[in-house]
Each structure stands twice: as structure tokens, then as C-alpha cells.
């Protein structure tokens, strides 16, 4: 592999890793803080992509579509949390898995009803459509770099929110001791609704910003969901730090896997997971099991 | 004195920077009732968890008879003959009392990886289970679902399950926790009976009970052993009184 190819694959890994991180962080936050496994999380990613495609048809601008689309996804997340997820808080994981599985079925079918089963594409905005030269004859798309930068800023923003704001403190408190937070007069249900909507928005945004690269197609939600699960499991449930490292590892495994062992590319991701679990069954930064 | 049945050598457990148990070196003589007392947070339950294998030690060794049991898993330790009852009732609530003791008794068979015989036909298991049920006073409640019993009865079952595993050494974590006087007296009497044939190590806050049945007492404070001695020694020890009274002053 030439240096240029290696560099390109590395940059691709990072970019993919960042997108994965956005989706996985929502998943791990929702589980870590609310104790809910949400299988339908991938649906937010999918809806994000479809909504941005749909809005693009009217606005002709990716930026405007995203700005309009993110609130829409947040509303969707909020509605789902209030109507369905809120009933799962005290229940066994099995029921959470099943209920959110039912949600996937519904949401996937809704997507087909609204927008059909075709593949759609969203063009890269003109401003970002150029390429950066890497070597004399290799270039790298500006848009992919843009995605990485935006995700990095979002990640930093999330860190600040969780660690440095009152809302973040309330969220962290609610994760440790729900009843206590309620006893302090804080409406924990609203906190959870906000956390869930934020997680949904993150996943939706990932779908939107990634749409020009990945295209928009049915089943994209299911795909990213499974990979996000792997990321969360590798990183340790409830750990944002773990989600980040896990996402980067998977980004590397997937991207280089496709180049080095194309026939077994998909398996590279799961092999990575198996190796890590062999070493640490609770994930890299998860709570140890005794 | 005869060989101690259990010896700990500088046993310690820390969680990050927190030292829950430190430098605990104790000897437990066979056939005796050895109580461990101390203020909350003294490390008593952590110590029991170390002895029963629920927590791996950070430092030190544990020796049971001629086995080094440091870091052994709870199931292996149970198989060696150390039984455990829990402070927070840890039974099978959906099973009947008999089924609870049954499973405990079945553990004494060489292996339960048997797929083709009917479990309930194993008479040796049945005998053990029934004996345990009667010893802990629940003979009449054989088919009652555990969840439907009173708290005190559930604590009795907790002890019964432990007995069904026919242990030599009993680790009892606050067996009297949350009990009224009458119930407590029944359990104290049960412990007296058990003390005739087993070695008991017990954590308790109920001082009357401790002074009534213990042969030796160890006082723990802040994860370390403050003093070990006979009931008289501990009762009259200025250091122990200071440890307890001193703590009360701080709380006030």
C-alpha cells in the first residue's frame, strides 16, 4: 500500500469513526443515563438522511435542510420518548429490546410509505465540493474533512455540556440516582426526554451530514445500528470516552478491512469486537463485572 | 490450642484510593463463635466478601484448613465447606422453601451436569434439604413460596439454604438484621445450636446477641482490626469504647 493510499484510508477511517461516534454516543448515553436499550436508534439516523434529502428537494441547500431537519428529528425523538420509551424505565431489558424492535418495524415501514424503496442521493454543497491535494497525484475530498471537523466540534460541545453545565450535572446525577434527583424537585422525566431527544438529534444529524457520502437508502438505519452496538459494547456501555475510542477502532477496522481483506471486510469489525471482549468482557471503559 | 480452621494473613482490599480493608491478620479456632463488630463502614462486610470469594483480595492471603483460598471463586469456596448467608436477603423468591433448600442441597452432589435423571428422585438431596429446612425452623413452610413469607421467615430460609450445603464454617452477615425481639431470639437459639457442631464467623450490630453467644470478638474500625479478644476483654477495653463513643461524638 502506498503512503498516499494509506493516508487516504486513514482519513476515511477517522471520518467514518466520527460519524459512528455521533450515533454511538447517543446510544450509550441513553443507556448509561436512562438505562434504556434503544434498538430504534438507527432509525433516527435513517430519518435524518431521508428528511434532509426530502427537504433538499424544496430548499436546494444542504445547510438549510440540515437546520430545518435537526429540530424535526428532535421532535420525533421527543414524541417517541413520551409515547413509548417512558413506559420502559422500570422494566426488564428484554422488554425494552422487544418494544424498540417493534419501533424499528414501524419506522422502517413508515420510511417506505413516505419515500419509497429507491436509493437517493444528496449532492455535496458546492462550497465544499473541492479536493485537497495530498501528494502529487492523490487528492482528498474537502467534504470528508469537513465532516470530521464538524463532528469533532460536536464532540467537544457534548463534553462541555455534560461536564460543565447544570443540565449536564443534572443528567449525570439522574444517571446515578434517579429518585434523589426527583426528591430535589427536578423533574427527571423532562431531563430524560431531553437526553433522549438530544441523542436522537445527534444520530439524525449524523445521517444528514453523511448523506452526500453514503447515499440514502432503506435499511441504512439497521446497518448503522448494529455497528453502533459493536462500538458501544467495545467502548463500554455508558462511556462516551469508550464510544469515541470504540468508534475510531471500528472506523479503522472497517476501512482497512475493506482494503486488506475485501472478502471478509464485514467480519473484520466483529473480529475486533471478539478480540477486545476476550480481553475485557465489559468493554474498554465499562463497569467491571464481578 | 488446636489448628485454626481459618487464617488470614495481612488481608487487604482497596477500591482505587479507598482502603476498605487493610492488614487484617486473624485466626479463627474451630468450633467457636467468632463475632466481628464495629461501626458502619468499618469494612466488616467487605471482609466477609473476601472470605467467601465474592471479592478478590488486593493483598494478603487466606487459608482454610490446608487450602490456600486466596482469590478463589465463590463456588469453589462453597464446595470446600464454607457457607455464607447474606445481609440483604438473597434467596430465590419465586421458589418454595423446599425448592430453595433443594438447590442448595443439590450442590453437594459431585456434579449437576446430569440431564437424564429426574432430580426429585435423588433421595440424598431430599434428605439434606428437609433436614436443613427443619433445622432452621421452616419444616411447616415447606411448600410456601418464599416471597410470600414474612421477613423473619425469609431470614430463616437464608440460613436454611446455607445449612443445606453442609458447611463446616459458617459466614453470617448480620443474620439478625431487621428482626423484632421474638424473631431474633429464635435465630439466636438456632445459632447456639449450630455452634455446637460448626464454626461461626458472624457480623452483627445487635450487641446483646453478640455478647450472649460469641466466644471471641474482633472489633474493626476503618478497615483495620482494632482489637480481638474474649467477650470480657472487649467489654472492658478502653480503646473499643473510645472507638464507639468517639464516633458518636463526631456524629452529634
Amino acid at each position: 500500500m502506498s503512503l498516499a493510499t494509506f493516508l487516504i484510508q486513514l482519513l476515511n477511517s477517522v471520518q467514518y469513526g466520527f460519524l459512528l461516534f455521533l450515533v454511538a454516543s447517543g446510544l450509550t448515553l441513553i443507556f448509561g443515563i436512562m438505562g434504556i436499550i434503544n434498538l430504534a436508534h438507527g432509525a433516527f439516523y435513517m430519518f435524518g438522511a431521508y428528511v434532509v434529502w426530502w427537504l433538499f428537494g424544496y430548499t436546494e441547500s444542504l445547510t438549510v435542510s440540515i437546520l430545518l431537519g435537526v429540530p424535526l428529528i428532535m421532535v420525533l425523538g421527543f414524541a417517541i420518548e413520551r409515547l413509548a420509551i417512558a413506559r420502559l424505565y422500570q422494566r426488564d431489558h428484554l422488554y425494552q429490546v422487544l418494544l424498540t424492535y417493534g419501533l424499528i418495524l414501524i419506522l422502517n415501514e413508515c420510511q417506505k410509505i413516505f419515500w419509497g424503496s429507491d436509493f437517493y442521493s444528496v449532492p455535496v454543497p458546492e462550497l465544499l465540493a473541492g479536493s485537497i491535494p495530498l501528494t502529487e497525484n492523490q487528492v482528498y475530498p474537502v467534504y470528508r474533512v469537513f465532516i470530521s471537523i464538524v463532528c469533532m466540534l460536536l464532540a467537544a460541545g457534548m463534553y462541555l455540556l455534560i461536564q460543565k453545565t447544570r443540565l449536564g450535572m443534572t443528567i449525570r446525577a439522574g444517571a446515578s440516582n434517579r429518585e434523589m434527583v426527583q426528591a430535589l424537585g427536578i423533574n427527571i422525566n423532562w431531563v430524560f426526554a431531553i437526553v433522549f431527544s438530544l441523542g436522537a438529534a445527534l444520530a439524525g444529524f449524523a445521517g444528514m451530514i453523511g448523506a452526500p457520502i453514503s447515499s440514502v437508502y432503506p435499511g441504512m438505519g439497521d446497518q448503522i445500528l448494529i455497528i453502533s452496538f459493536v462500538v458501544v459494547v467495545i467502548g463500554g456501555i455508558g462511556s462516551i470516552k469508550g464510544a469515541f475510542i470504540g468508534a475510531m477502532l471500528i472506523g479503522l477496522a472497517d476501512t482497512f478491512g475493506k482494503v486488506l481483506v475485501p472478502d471478509f471486510a464485514s467480519m473484520a469489525v466483529y473480529a475486533t469486537m471478539a478480540v477486545i471482549l476476550l480481553w475485557r468482557p465489559q468493554g474498554l471503559f465499562g463497569q467491571p463485572v464481578h | 490450642m488446636s489448628e485454626p480452621i481459618l487464617v488470614t494473613d495481612r488481608l487487604g482490599k482497596h477500591f482505587g484510593a479507598l482502603r476498605a480493608v487493610f492488614g487484617v491478620s486473624l485466626e479463627f479456632a474451630p468450633g467457636q463463635v467468632h463475632a466481628i463488630i464495629g461501626p458502619n463502614g468499618a469494612g466488616k462486610t467487605t471482609l466477609i466478601n473476601l472470605l467467601s470469594g465474592n471479592l478478590p483480595p488486593s493483598d494478603g492471603r487466606i487459608q482454610f484448613r490446608d487450602h490456600d483460598i486466596t482469590g478463589m471463586t465463590p463456588d469453589k469456596i462453597s464446595q470446600l465447606g464454607i457457607g455464607r448467608s447474606f445481609q440483604k436477603t438473597n434467596i430465590f423468591p419465586q421458589f418454595s422453601c423446599f425448592e430453595n433448600c433443594w438447590l442448595a442441597a443439590q450442590s453437594r452432589r459431585g456434579t449437576s451436569m446430569q440431564f437424564f435423571r429426574k432430580a426429585r428422585r435423588l433421595t440424598d438431596v431430599e434428605t439434606r434439604a428437609v433436614k436443613a429446612l427443619e433445622t432452621c425452623g421452616l419444616g411447616e413452610r415447606r411448600d410456601t413460596v418464599a416471597a410470600e413469607m414474612s421477613y423473619g421467615e425469609q431470614r430463616q430460609l437464608e440460613i436454611g439454604m446455607m445449612l443445606a450445603t453442609e458447611p463446616e464454617l459458617l459466614l453470617l452477615d448480620e443474620p439478625l438484621a431487621g428482626m423484632g425481639t421474638e424473631e431474633a431470639e429464635q435465630v439466636i437459639e438456632l445459632l447456639r445450636q449450630l455452634a455446637k457442631k460448626h464454626t461461626l464467623i458472624l457480623i452483627e450490630h445487635d450487641m446483646d446477641a453478640v455478647f450472649a453467644i460469641a466466644d471471641r470478638i474482633t472489633v474493626m474500625v476503618n478497615g483495620e482490626v482494632l482489637e480481638t479478644g474474649t467477650v470480657e476483654q472487649i467489654r472492658n477495653s478502653a480503646e473499643v469504647q473510645h472507638a464507639y463513643l468517639g464516633d458518636e461524638e463526631e456524629d452529634a
Binding site: F31, I37, A84, Q90, R91, H93, L94, Y95, V97, L98, Y101, G102, L103, I104, L105, I106, L107, C110, I113, D222, I226, F229, V230, V233, I237, D263, S266, M267, Y270, M273, A274, L277, L278, P281, Q282, G283, V289 | N54, D75, S78, N90, I91, F92, Q94, F95, E99, W102, L103, A104, Q106, S107, S112, M113, Q114, F116, K118, A119, L122, A147, T165
Partner: protein, 330 residues
């Protein structure tokens, strides 16, 4: 602990008699449907062993269902004829081996990790077959030649005949049920039920719980493989979808719908869900949508499934929450 009332036993015998006398009244289509439902019943029972009796919520159980079918397809790929007497054991052995490997990794984890890891392993197998051109890729394999029970020129049962296959499946289902019952009443079965009820305590009593969980996982996986073998023999097709998480999700659904931890409940769940699926496909353009709504409704309103209906009605009348009911669940 596992126990069935006289009423339940009678109902089961009646159900078997009904199934045994049904074929003359069913056309080919419904005959095949019921055969498929019985196969799903075996699959569901194997999952109930894990979820309902050992407390292991596996979201990747379809991996074993599909793997067995693929093993059959691979063995028969370039073979004109083969004897079932070695093909079936071979497929089961392969599936058992896979479940040992996957189980060994998975059983080291608990709770939500276990759910996710079993899902991920199943996906791994899914992608392996989906991207493997030699094995038909996403289209899967068509099994032209199937093994027979023939010894020399004598063929005791013609498995190509739909009627015969129906009865073979029925007998398989009954034997699977009886076998699992036997297992649950054996010392092994007592331990795994203890693990489900309180794993911590079971370990403290002296049982090496990891080993028991692994053995349970392997037994369940192999039985699922048996169901998958029957399915592949029946339809002559095996595709990656058989390993997919929708198949696993549907299986979990049948266990919950039927009543987990009852053993017979999931079979009823398989019939109910299978029939519902079949009906929805005729009646609407969006069967998945209604299936999803149905799944959610069952989770919210019928947590103990069909088998627990009498108890659930009682709960509704007394107005307890589903969470409280779960605490009482055996």
C-alpha cells in the same frame, strides 16, 4: 420451578391430537404453513430454554437456525444423494461447535452486554454468508438434492412427500418438547432455573454457573440448528435472511407472546405470530407496520404472553403496573 398443571398437560395432549388429525382438512398451502409453524415452534422452545429458563436473553439465536441450513446446503452442493443418517448429525455437530465458540465468548458477559454480543455474532455470520459468492451471496442456496432415509433400496419414509414431512415435523416437535421437559426436571435443569432466578446466589451455593450457562447455550443452539435443518429440508432454500436479526427478533417475539418460561407457551406464540404474519401479508400492503404495532402492544399490555393471560387479566383488574408483575414472574 418448572411444573405443569394437569389442566395444561391435558390441553397439550389435545393440541397434539388436533395437529395429528389436521392434515386431511388442510390443503397443500396450509399444510405447509402448519409444518413451518411447527418448525418455528421447535426454534421458539430452544430460545425459551435460554431466555425463560436460564435467563440468557440471546438476540442472535437465528445464527444457529440458519447455520444448520447452510451446512446442509454445503454438504449437498455437489452431491447427488446422501444419507440423512450422517448428514443430520453432521449439521448438528457443526452447529453445536459454532454455539460452543459463540457461547464461550458471550457467556463471559451479562445483561445488556450479552444481548448485544449475541446480536453482533449473529450479524457476523449473516455477513459471512451474505457476502460469500460461492454460497450464493444474498440469494442463498437452492438445495436441489436432499438427503434421504434410504438404506439401500428400502426407504422407510419419503421426506419429499408433504404429508410425511408434516408428521415427521410433528413428531420432532413433540420429542423436542419432551426432551426439554426431561432436561428441566433433571439436576441440570434445576441449576439453570436457579441461575435465572438468582445467579449470584446459585454461585454462592457452589455451582460453577458459567459452565452451566454455556452448556445451556449449546443445547439451545443445537436444537435451533435442528429446527433450521428441518426448515431447509422443507423449503429447499437457505438464505442469509434465516440468520438475520429479524429472524432472531421474531423468535424472541414468539417466546414473549407465547409466555416465556412455560416451554409450551412459545409454541403457541409461534403459531399465533406465524399465522398473523401470513394473514397480514394478504390483507395489507404494509404488514411490517402492523406487526410492529402488534409487538409493541404485546410488550405493553401482555407481558406474560398468551400463557399468562389469566394472570394478566387479574392484574388489569387490580390495576398493577407491568413492572410489578415482572417481579412476581417465575
Amino acid at each position: 420451578m418448572f411444573r405443569t398443571s394437569l389442566y395444561t398437560n391435558l390441553a397439550l395432549v389435545a393440541a397434539i391430537i388436533v395437529l395429528a388429525t389436521l392434515p386431511p382438512f388442510l390443503g397443500i398451502y396450509y399444510g405447509n404453513l402448519v409444518t413451518r409453524l411447527m418448525i418455528l415452534g421447535i426454534f421458539a422452545m430452544s430460545l425459551d430454554l435460554l431466555i425463560g429458563f436460564t435467563g440468557l436473553v440471546s438476540f442472535g439465536h437465528a445464527a444457529f437456525f440458519g447455520l444448520s441450513g447452510y451446512l446442509l446446503g454445503i454438504i449437498m452442493m455437489d452431491t447427488e444423494s446422501a444419507s440423512l443418517y450422517w448428514v443430520l448429525p453432521a449439521c448438528l455437530a457443526g452447529t453445536a461447535l459454532a454455539s460452543v465458540v459463540i457461547g464461550w465468548f458471550s457467556v463471559r458477559t451479562t445483561g445488556i452486554y450479552f444481548i448485544m454480543i449475541t446480536l453482533a455474532f449473529a450479524q457476523m455470520l449473516f455477513f459471512f454468508f451474505n457476502e460469500n459468492v460461492a454460497l450464493g451471496g444474498s440469494d442463498g442456496l437452492f438445495i436441489f438434492n436432499k438427503p434421504t432415509l434410504a438404506i439401500g433400496s428400502w426407504n422407510p419414509l419419503d421426506l419429499e412427500d408433504h404429508h410425511t414431512f408434516y408428521y415427521v415435523t410433528l413428531v420432532s416437535m413433540v420429542l423436542s418438547y419432551l426432551g426439554l421437559r426431561q432436561l428441566l426436571n433433571a439436576p441440570f435443569g434445576q441449576v439453570i432455573q436457579g441461575i435465572r432466578a438468582n445467579e449470584n446466589r446459585t454461585r454462592a451455593l457452589g455451582f460453577a454457573t458459567q459452565r452451566y450457562k454455556l452448556v445451556s447455550f449449546v443445547i439451545a443452539g443445537t436444537l435451533a440448528g435442528f429446527a433450521g435443518f428441518l426448515e431447509a429440508m422443507h423449503t429447499s432454500i437457505i438464505s442469509p435472511a434465516h440468520l438475520g436479526w429479524h429472524e432472531s427478533g421474531t423468535a424472541m417475539m414468539t417466546v414473549i407472546l407465547g409466555g416465556m418460561g412455560t416451554l409450551h407457551g412459545p409454541v403457541f406464540g409461534a403459531f399465533a405470530l406465524g399465522y398473523l404474519h401470513d394473514w397480514l401479508q394478504d390483507v395489507t400492503k404494509y404488514p411490517t407496520l402492523y406487526m410492529g404495532i402488534f409487538v409493541i402492544a404485546v410488550v405493553l399490555f401482555l407481558p406474560r404472553g398468551i400463557a399468562g393471560l389469566p394472570a394478566d387479566i387479574g392484574r388489569l383488574l387490580r390495576r398493577k403496573s407491568p413492572a410489578e408483575t415482572e417481579e412476581e414472574e417465575p
